[in-house]
């Protein structure tokens, strides 16, 4: 049995209570939601918070997938399984279901949360790339109020986000677009493994023009999990194989993959291009209503 170092435990009754506990216990306190990233790291003694603040009682407040105005809103305490099974999520962004289907396994998805995943900010995290693809915004609260940050400003680097020591992520808001399709492609060594490389794509069409596009990259060291160069090529272009190829070349250059036991850097760079091409094809087909 792998055992964590000694840790104090608190249970928050509300969002405000969680913030108050964070303020009281200082920067060595950590929120725990599903615990499927934090607890393994604690058991390996790679993470050693002094205090765990359990926010599972906040599920009633923070677990939802709903439309609010022009946004699809996903509460931070939404479990992966709830997002996977949400019809409204799939109706607007198929990428959400594509990605959730390949995140870990059913046991992890039953417990792990959307907020926990993106706040963990593992460089291989799928949802970070998904929300980067979709140009989502994060809603963060502290005792001094609520602020909204774009995903580019949310991800500050490996395991680092804009969420401060006494702040809590409330929800992720994705702007609803019409005439668009989205998709997620992932290569993993085995079902349930972290991505070797994964790519998300968003394609918005007006006839035969791409009006807006998103390309998100996981596990290849892309800044903010995105490829602005690929997106630039796509915007205004015709959705053709030539365009996708150019975007793929741009995406594979627009990242900084590192060699590790999942694969050498040259392979990951190749995959960034290959999966960009595949994700764009699928997103485009969906935008045209051609693929179920």
């Amino acid at each position: 049995m792998q055992t964590p170092a000694p840790v104090e435990y608190e249970r928050a009754a509300s969002v405000d209570d969680a913030i108050a506990l964070l303020e009281r216990h200082g920067p060595e306190a950590r929120l725990i939601a599903g615990g499927h990233s934090l607890l393994p790291m604690m058991k390996l003694r790679l993470a050693r918070p002094d205090v765990l603040i359990d926010i599972n009682d906040l599920a009633e407040e923070l677990a939802y997938v709903r439309i609010d105005g022009d946004d699809l809103c996903i509460g931070a305490m939404t479990r992966h399984r709830e997002l996977l099974e949400s019809p409204v999520a799939g109706e607007h962004y198929r990428i959400l279901h594509d990605a959730e289907r390949v995140i870990a396994d059913p046991v992890v998805r039953n417990r792990g949360t959307v907020g926990g995943s993106i706040c963990q900010a593992d460089p291989s995290e799928d949802l970070s790339a998904v929300f980067a693809t979709l140009g989502a915004r994060a809603v963060i609260r502290s005792s001094s109020g609520t602020r909204v940050v774009a995903m580019d400003d949310f991800h500050l680097g490996a395991y680092t986000t804009a969420v401060g020591p006494a702040e809590i992520l409330l929800e992720v808001r994705v702007p609803i677009r019409t005439g668009c399709g989205s998709a997620y492609e992932k290569v993993e060594r085995r079902a349930g493994d972290w991505a070797v490389v994964a790519v998300g794509a968003l394609v918005c069409l007006d006839g035969d023009r791409i009006t807006d596009a998103g390309v998100g990259l996981a596990a290849v060291g892309a800044e903010h999990f995105r490829s602005p160069a690929a997106e630039e090529i796509l915007r205004g272009a015709e959705p053709s194989e030539a365009t996708f190829d150019a975007a793929a070349v741009a995406a594979s250059a627009d990242c900084d993959p590192q060699s590790d036991q999942r694969g050498p850097a040259d392979y990951k760079r190749h995959l960034a291009g290959e999966l960009t091409r595949r994700a764009l094809r699928r997103a485009t087909a969906r935008a045209r209503g051609q693929e179920g």
Partner: protein, 791 residues
């Protein structure tokens, strides 16, 4: 929802499908494993492990740990030195450090042991121990271990100036050279069978309880060989053997990982002696992966010779065997490379020769584990890859090449060029059946069609011959203990029975299979037979379960003991029926008078009479029991033909195993359901090794496979629906004709998967595991070394 209720199948009176008796407790969560053992006053141990792969220990300060309020003892190598226990003999003429005294020699090596009131405190106290290391350059690449300037790992061995362990060879070198000189075609290929790990679901552990009053030591330990452990504890620690009791409770998988004695077991024993209380030690997952018996790590150079028309004439191989920091492989003493010299496999060759050189590296010790039948896995992989390399060179179909060269049924018993005597087999029949089940010709057509569309599909064949059931005691021993096994069968007065075994189940279903053997011989229902195993105070001596030896050795012992019971029952029946012994005839469960079938006595009636007041013939004692110590006259040789079909994504290198056809011949099947279950498990093992499992190391000596995030095991999603078939060729020398099956699929399947992937991408060779990255790199012409960090 409709519920379909099937009537329960009747329990077979002997061989046949029946549900496993032990599963009644397993599926209800009522198994009893080492970690379920809780004794009054029990303390908990934890091991401090080296962070370095190679370093001199300058100083160990345990004072802060000792001051921890819940710590009861801190044991270091220095403590053990005073007891003469700092080192223990390995299973291969070497020594193993229990706790390091001079140097650490692999990352994860045991340095100190803390005993505390609870597991958490023991683990916390490890962080209070200060160890000052002087780092030394590690030897992580076996191929450089023998370079003249390589750091010497084993400077504890007097006069040791290099990392060489042994040179060993088998076969006829001159005849092999001659066959190669005369060959039309010669193909050579380097290949690595990488280091993998058995990774049983339950990690290793022990509870040691030294009773300070009686002086009796009881050890609960998930060992595959409880009797061997007891004898070794007696020999090494000087404890009297009758004062040691080893209990192996339910075991959550062994696969060879639980054959040896680990330092943690010894530390738990010393901890109990020091504290005078029971001590439990359970390793965690990372400890299991990083420090316990690994498997394989064979760097092989193979050469195969043939005539122009595809007749294979000779095989030659040079092996560099990475044994880690201590030579602690577990195998019969005379065979430092295990049974690797069965590498001629299933083919009719003129000559063969192998040379194996063992070396030390700064990696965990072990080497023979993970369902390998003492290195037959490496041997089968070598020959089955070489045959495919030859087929590729000659442009021949790999199935046709194999059919041309397989041994013929009339050649059995067959003595292979390296001296093994294969007991029985019909190889072409098994391969033809597999080809037929696969629809081989159609698959080749489909493959050709797909190629024209740029789709990659591959078909891989492997034909293996196993050598299991070690073994004849005149040839085979482990540390001087002959590999014979005992069994005792006793029929109670009411006709129920108990059978006591020396071998030990780790999930193989012994409680069912061995009851079925007794049932087959005596006609007592398996439901009425209790199988007792895993407790040295309550079972006869024997060497345990590994190398697929349980049914070949202990199964034979049980069959013979049961027949002795039957023979005694005949004498009792003759007294009961007042007829001559020779006038009786047996039908399952009953002796009756020849020519008068109505006049007979059931085994239950005989059992009661044998315990009663019936006057027995002169020289016949009461009761109904018998025992046997079975010394196998030869090994058994299960075999099989496997075909794997894969699809490879040309853009990503991802492999999908679409189909797997496995025809196994293990002789008669005692419980076909259990046999199929073992085959399914072994096939999954093979997919895992071929596609994802590896323990690699970086140049600093860090283990890169120390958790299940890094060491990948296959899941149901990577496994196709297995298509199993069988042929039945009984072993002529085994009383039941059975050959053993536990490791067949693990031995045979990796080559089939690898052959299929390489067939798909049209490349002659790449080393396992064929991860997406390795497949893609191979397609680019630059496969990488899988045993080192990927750069």
């Amino acid at each position: 929802m409709t519920t379909i209720e099937e009537p329960p199948a009747p329990t077979p009176m002997g061989f046949g499908r029946m549900k496993r008796k032990e599963d009644v407790r397993f599926i209800r969560g009522k198994g009893h494993y080492v970690d379920d053992v809780v004794l009054p006053g029990m303390l908990h141990g934890a091991v401090l492990r080296s962070t370095y792969a190679h370093a001199r220990i300058v100083r160990i300060d345990t004072s802060a740990a000792e001051a921890h309020p819940k710590v009861r003892a801190v044991i270091t190598g220095a403590t053990l030195e005073t007891l003469g226990l700092a080192w223990m003999p390995s299973l291969s003429h070497d020594v193993v450090a229990v706790l390091a005294t001079d140097k650490v020699r692999f990352q994860g090596q045991e340095v100190a042991f803390v005993v505390a009131d609870d597991h958490y405190s023991a683990r916390d106290a490890l962080e209070l121990i200060e160890v000052e290391y002087e780092p030394l350059p590690p030897v992580m690449d076996a191929r450089r271990a023998l370079e003249p300037d390589a750091p010497v790992i084993r400077d504890d061995v007097q006069g040791k100036t290099d990392n060489h362990i042994f040179d060993w060879d088998a076969g006829d070198e001159a005849a092999t050279d001659a066959a190669f000189a005369a060959a039309d075609v010669v193909v050579s290929q380097d290949m690595l069978y990488p280091r993998v790990h058995p990774a049983p679901m339950e990690t290793c552990g022990a509870v040691a309880d030294m009773d300070p009053v009686s002086g009796k030591l009881t050890i609960w330990c998930g060992t595959q060989a409880p009797h061997a452990h007891r004898t070794l504890y007696a020999l090494v620690a000087g404890l009297p053997e009758h004062k040691i009791r080893v209990i192996s409770p339910d075991i959550g998988g062994g696969f060879g990982n639980k054959v040896g004695i680990y330092p943690g077991y010894v530390c738990a024993i010393v901890g109990s002696i020091v504290t005078k209380r029971p001590v439990k030690w359970m390793e965690d997952r990372s400890e299991n992966l990083m420090s316990t018996s690994f498997a394989r790590d064979y760097h092989m150079h193979g050469e195969i010779a043939a005539t122009n028309d595809g007749k294979i004439t000779a095989l030659r191989v040079k092996v560099l065997a990475d044994h880690g920091a201590f030579n602690n492989t577990a195998q019969p003493t005379k065979f430092p490379a295990g049974f690797f010299h069965i590498f001629t496999g299933s083919y009719d060759l003129q000559a063969a020769h192998c040379e194996v050189t063992g070396v030390y590296t700064n990696k965990a010790p072990g080497g023979v584990a993970y369902a390998c039948s003492f290195r037959v896995t490496e041997a089968a992989y070598l020959v089955e890859r070489m045959v495919d390399c030859l087929a590729d060179e000659m442009g021949m179909d790999p199935a046709e090449l194999r059919l041309k060269n397989l041994l013929k049924p009339e050649q059995f018993p067959y003595t292979c060029p390296t001296g093994w005597e294969y007991d029985s087999g019909d190889y072409p029949r098994a391969l033809r059946l597999a080809l037929e089940m696969a629809g081989y010709d159609d698959l080749r057509k489909e493959q050709a069609d797909k190629r024209t569309r740029g789709e990659l599909m591959g078909i891989g064949i492997s034909f293996f011959t196993e050598t299991v059931g070690a073994g004849p005691r005149k040839h085979m021993d482990i540390l001087g203990l002959g590999m014979a096994d005992g069994a005792e069968v006793r029929v109670h007065p009411t006709g129920k029975a108990v059978v006591r075994l020396s071998c030990q189940s780790q999930g193989q279903g012994h409680e069912t299979t061995f009851a079925q053997i007794v049932a087959q011989e005596l006609g007592i229902s398996p439901d009425d037979i209790d199988v007792v195993h895993g407790d040295t105070d309550n079972t006869p001596f024997g060497l345990g379960t590994y190398g697929s030896r349980s049914t070949p050795v202990s199964g034979a012992a049980v069959a013979v003991a049961s027949r002795r019971v039957r023979d005694k029952a005949k004498i009792v029946a003759s007294a009961m029926l007042e007829v001559a012994v020779d006038d009786l005839e047996w039908e399952k469960g009953r002796w009756f008078v020849k020519g008068d079938p109505a006049a007979g006595k059931t085994i239950q009636e005989i059992a009661l009479a044998s315990h009663g007041s019936l006057e027995l013939p002169e020289g016949v004692e009461g009761h109904l029991d018998a025992s046997c110590v079975y010394d196998p006259p030869n090994l058994t040789y299960p075999f099989g033909a496997y075909i794997c079909v894969v699809d490879v994504d040309p853009g990503t290198g991802q492999v999908k195993v679409r189909r797997f056809i496995a025809v196994d011949d293990c002789g008669p099947r005692i419980n076909p359901m259990i046999v199929e279950g073992q085959i399914h498990g072994g096939l999954a093992d093979g997919v895992g090794m071929a596609l994802m499992e590896v323990i690699a190391f970086d140049e600093d000596g860090n283990c890169l496979g120390g958790s299940f995030m890094d060491y990948l095991l296959p899941t149901a999603l990577e496994c196709p629906s297995w298509e199993v078939g069988q042929t039945v060729t009984p072993s002529p020398h085994h009383p039941l004709g059975v050959k053993g099956v536990g490791e067949s699929a693990t031995v045979g399947s990796p080559a089939a998967v690898v052959n299929a992937v390489l067939d798909a991408i049209g490349v002659r060779h790449a080393d396992m595991p064929l991860t997406p990255a390795q497949v893609w790199r191979t397609m680019q012409g630059s496969p990488f070394r899988t045993d080192l960090a990927i750069e």
